[in-house]
Symmetry: C2
Subunit: 146 residues, 2 copies
Amino acid sequence: MKEWEEQFRAFLRGRGLTFTPERRAVLEEIFAEHGHFDVETLHDRLRSRGSRISIATIYRLIPLLTESGMIRPATLRDGHPTYEHLFGHRPHHHLTCVRCGKVVEFRQEEIEKILDKICGRHGFSPFDYRLGVRGVCAACRKEETG
Amino acid sequence: MKEWEEQFRAFLRGRGLTFTPERRAVLEEIFAEHGHFDVETLHDRLRSRGSRISIATIYRLIPLLTESGMIRPATLRDGHPTYEHLFGHRPHHHLTCVRCGKVVEFRQEEIEKILDKICGRHGFSPFDYRLGVRGVCAACRKEETG
DNA sequence: TTGCGATTGTTAATCATTCTCAATATAAGG
DNA sequence: CCTTATATTGAGAATGATTAACAATCGCAA
Ligand SMILES: [Mn+2]
Ligand SMILES: [Mn+2]
Ligand SMILES: [Zn+2]
Ligand SMILES: [Zn+2]
């Protein structure tokens, strides 16, 4: 059994909830590929694999997946949230190209150290850093100028 | 005339748009107090001052205010966007307490320098950094533990 | 003053998300 | 195996914030 499945089952058990086929299918699909997804895309992907799952079920699952640490909100895409699987991945941040939508992930511990200091100075206990940089990627800039 | 009004008028003129009483009222209200506001709150504030302005007009104004540099999106509050006035203020970042909603603003040029380097490494031209830290403030933590 | 595009308020439409509800599935106990 | 009490699901209705349509005004330039 995949370790994320094990952890999610444990989470559900702890809440008196059950690990159903639908929940298994969603979990599998989330870890099937790396990248940012929104609810509708996830639903489409499941359907195209033959699942008859309802989109309402996926909406209902999002909070459970988040609270269990399976996924986290990633960025906003046209105003609605996208998510990414979290289990087994170090936290990271995002550069987003506002033209083509390309997303580059990067990791920077130095920044987090600085932020920890700032939080301490204000008496804050941080548990989540969200660092979004919006800009224009090299390809789009070339297209723009050229 | 307030300098932001002057700048907003210039922006509108450049687009062949007009500076109306409604637009003046909204602009005044935005600079009347410091803090993060959402569209509904702004509408309420205007109404409570006797204005009969429609909320649709405010929604229509948001893009113009953003593009002219009068405001910028700040953070999400319960899923919908909040804004803050920008003119005359240095960019800054936010610590948000997830319990009480308190927001602390801070400025950190060191981080921006690091991010510039990272962007350069990936060929990105950044034009906006959004740094959100979520955590628990001192007061809420005391309440929690105590 | 006239003419024309911009602006506004009202109202209807959109659209993602949430809710309702009746039908099933699940797990535990007998 | 049955039984029963909950949890879960899918379908479709409801919600609520945001946008769009539209007819009535407004503001500015000729
Ligand atoms: Mn990511
Ligand atoms: Mn702020
Ligand atoms: Zn690009
Ligand atoms: Zn607090």
